[in-house]
């Protein structure tokens, strides 16, 4: 069976439209790029300063002035553009970013995301997350359904919110869930997983509206 993280990344990749501008968070979200065909004309933005982020460079050919937001070496694709932080966040905050994929400890029934602080434990800071969730046209959260046995999709976030904006989609190893006015709607389930399995693994109430097919993962 496909590893959980790869399943999530493959499913998220299907959300990316040809020719769009996409920002991928560090960690799991960054894996999504591996499943987007090069001929789709998608440009990935690294918020630290490049549009047209490419894969890792060949060994020995790394440029210390070309890294991703985590500080790792990357390349630039043909047609790439260097941008400073004002332009980078101008694009994010001005509604020019078609989609961002972020991780997160918690999403709740109102579609709120909490991903920048665990009080008393870890205060990494919000970096670009608050700007991304506030400004991107579409916000997709890619995460494991549960951590240490407890659901990350909760009734109401107990951690500090990243923004008051409702995110657009959650993709986990078990399900695809869409926050709506009525609440969280279960859209798809992972191969071999039943609706009841998903419900049982989720603290939040999930609504079923029509069919809940298996996730396509090509």
């Amino acid at each position: 069976m496909m590893e959980a993280k790869e399943r999530i990344a493959r499913r998220v990749a299907r959300e990316i439209k040809p020719g769009s501008l996409v920002n991928l968070g560090i960690g799991l979200p960054s894996m999504v790029a591996n499943f987007v065909p090069a001929d789709r004309g998608v440009f990935f933005q690294a918020e630290n300063g490049v549009i047209g982020l490419g894969a890792r460079p060949p060994e020995g050919m790394e440029d210390p002035h070309l890294t991703d937001a985590g500080g790792g070496f990357v390349t630039a694709v043909p047609g790439a553009a260097s941008i400073d932080s004002a332009m980078s966040f101008g694009l994010i905050r001005g509604g020019h970013l078609d989609m961002t994929v972020l991780g997160g400890p918690q999403v709740d029934e109102r579609g709120h995301l909490a991903n920048w602080k665990v009080p008393g434990k870890m205060v990494p800071g919000m970096g670009g997350a608050m700007d991304l969730v506030t400004g991107a046209k579409r916000v997709v959260v890619a995460m494991q359904h549960a951590a240490k046995g407890s659901s990350k999709i909760v009734r109401e976030c107990t951690l500090p919110l990243t923004a008051q904006r409702r995110i657009d989609l959650v993709v986990t190893d078990l399900a695809v869930i869409e926050p709506t006015d009525e609440g969280l709607v279960l859209r798809e389930r992972a191969p071999g997983v039943t609706i009841d399995d998903v419900m049982a693994a989720t603290e939040a109430r999930l609504l079923v509206r029509g069919a809940v097919p298996e996730m396509p993962l090509d």
Binding site: N48, G71, A86, F89
Partner: protein, 217 residues
């Protein structure tokens, strides 16, 4: 022609207690020799405005380790456990600012705007204690401008009159910070004669730059 000085001389210009804008993102594009010189001179009680505190042993992380910093205005400290430990121990006072708001606050300080009106942070802890305003029926946070006593800028090339350019992801906060300090000190990889950087390639006009760091020995 700009004054061109050694890193030690630059560090001597910067007094303890100064507010420093330091370019770079996870140390990429940071003025690394200037940082080393500040550590070497034993600078104390600095306020650092920067995107992040890099990591121990790299860039701004060295200033944190050396105990040179008493206050930081940053967007992210997640990759430097020492910064987090010093924050929890009360040794460094840290203001966390969303990255886009941070760069706009510095730009506002640099271009004479009274503040930044942004929806980022509304309905979160970032809103606590902040002024808000309604414009055209929408509510925004009012975020005040930021300026530094000094801006320490990393760049690719400088010419003799101080025009600067930058490379790929090493731009980041540098061009904006060069607008927003009383004294701007640039650390170029190379210094080139006037004309090598053509007018259309200049990203920071030399009129903004006060001092250039000499080439590495």
């Amino acid at each position: 022609m700009k004054d061109c000085i050694k890193a030690e001389a630059a560090a001597d210009l910067i007094p303890d207690g100064a507010v420093l804008l330091i370019g770079g993102f996870m140390a990429v594009g940071s003025p690394l020799r200037l940082i080393d010189a500040l550590v070497a001179r034993g600078a104390k009680d600095l306020t650092i405005v920067a995107n992040d505190s890099a990591m121990p042993g790299k860039g701004i992380g060295k200033l944190v380790t050396a105990g040179a910093v008493s206050r930081m205005i940053v967007s992210h400290i997640g990759l430097n456990p020492e910064t987090q430990a010093k924050m929890i121990a009360g040794e460094i006072d840290i203001e966390l600012v969303p990255q886009g708001t941070l760069v706009e606050r510095i730009r506002a300080g640099g271009v004479g705007l009274g503040g930044v009106l942004t929806p980022t942070g509304l309905g979160t802890e970032v809103e606590d204690g902040k002024q808000t305003i309604e414009v055209n029926g929408r509510r925004f946070l009012v975020e005040p401008p930021i300026r530094g006593d000094f801006a320490l800028i990393g760049c690719r090339q400088a010419d003799y009159v101080g025009n600067l350019d930058y490379s790929l992801t090493a731009h980041n906060f540098n061009p904006i910070m060069a607008l927003a300090a009383d004294m701007v000190i640039a650390e170029p990889d190379v210094i080139v004669p006037v004309g090598v950087i053509p007018p259309d390639a200049v990203k920071t006009p030399g009129v903004l730059v006060d001092r250039l760091l000499q080439r590495a020995a």
